[in-house]
């Protein structure tokens, strides 16, 4: 007997939308947006680096908001959503640091600038969240683990916008400010490509978030099913066979 697929509802549609938006965004970035006068083709890194940074930071804040919901409702599903959002943001954070370093090397001649507030502040946020997983998995009791992880996610999530504001107020060194009050100095074509890329990376985040949640939910279901089978003695199962329908694993929600 074969069970139904374990993927969450709407994941296929979301995956297609993500692929189309990202392809459109990168297509616009390379074939529609003009070459930047100063950096030339190197500036194309902007269309992958900045959207990843924005989505990663928003993911950290979203993880904090989901953790608030967990503490309010005591529903473990919110803790799992918060965990997956933070996990995914850390992965994007790795992408931001690596692509940023490549851009730095190409543009400034250095892989890293320690006196640049934007770079160092992002690294601080990233390293802060790198502590989340060790903290979480150092606690064996699932209830306490979820509660402590939520408290961490809320505190760290509140730090992200404060950090962002502090960097805005700091003196600009060599890293440009993209989200300025004047809307930056991007021409319309560049802005359109940037917006489509940002939407694409945001959709990618949601798709991967749902995919990992499906995996976590399925894993939880598997554990429950195994416990149920272990707890049911053979004789009891045989006696109840007439009254009970065959065990079919229910479809996980995948965070829907």
């Amino acid at each position: 007997m074969r069970s139904r697929p374990l993927y969450g509802k709407g994941l296929r549609t979301l995956s297609i939308a993500t692929a189309v938006t990202l392809a459109a965004g990168f297509g616009l970035a390379f074939f529609y947006a003009p070459l930047e006068a100063d950096q030339g083709v190197i500036q194309k890194i902007f269309y992958v680096h900045v959207p990843m940074a924005i989505v990663a930071l928003c993911g950290f804040v979203a993880g904090g908001l989901m953790a608030i919901q967990h503490l309010r409702t005591n529903d473990r599903a919110w803790d799992m959503r918060s965990y997956v959002a933070i996990h995914l943001s850390i992965v994007l954070g790795v992408g931001v640091l690596v692509t940023g370093s490549i851009w730095g090397k190409a543009s400034w001649g250095h892989w890293w600038q320690w006196d640049e507030p934007v770079l160092v502040s992002f690294l601080v946020v990233f390293l802060l969240y790198c502590c989340y997983q060790p903290l979480r998995f150092s606690i064996s009791d699932p209830e306490r683990q979820a509660r402590y992880a939520s408290v961490f996610a809320i505190a760290a999530g509140a730090f992200v916008p404060i950090n962002f504001a502090a960097v805005r107020m700091a003196q600009q060194e060599i890293h440009p400010r993209v989200l300025s009050e004047t809307g930056g100095s991007m021409p319309g074509e560049m802005r359109l490509a940037f917006l489509v890329c940002t939407v694409g990376v945001a959709l990618l985040f949601v798709t991967l978030w749902k995919l990992e949640l499906s995996s976590k939910n399925a894993s939880e279901q598997l554990k429950r099913l195994r416990r149920r089978l272990e707890d049911t003695p053979l004789e009891a199962a045989a006696g109840a066979s007439a009254a009970r329908p065959p065990v079919v694993p229910a479809r996980p929600t995948g965070g829907d």
Binding site: M1, R2, S3, P5, L6, Y7, F26, L35, A37, Q39, G40, V41, I42, K44, I45, V48, H49, M52, L88, V91, L92, V94, G95, V98, T99, I102, W103, K105, A106, L204, L208, L211, E212, S214, S215, A218, S219, Q221, L222, L225, R226, L229, T232, L234, A237, A238, A240, S241, R244, P246, V247, V248, P249
Partner: protein, 53 residues
């Protein structure tokens, strides 16, 4: 001297490849986890059916 359109193309390629590699690696890891879970669920469901018969 190379024109601006060509200078540093390898850096751009590297940055986009890093993004692609990260996404692919993530999807492969999660998909393999889900596939393993699906196989285990099928096995357990079969076992449960056998026991119920």
């Amino acid at each position: 001297m190379l024109p601006l359109a060509l200078t540093g193309r390898q850096y751009v390629a590297a940055a986009y490849l890093v993004f692609l590699a990260l996404v692919l690696l993530y999807v492969v890891i999660i998909s393999s986890k889900i596939a393993r879970i699906e196989r285990e669920v099928d096995t357990l469901a079969e076992l449960a059916d056998k026991r119920a018969r």
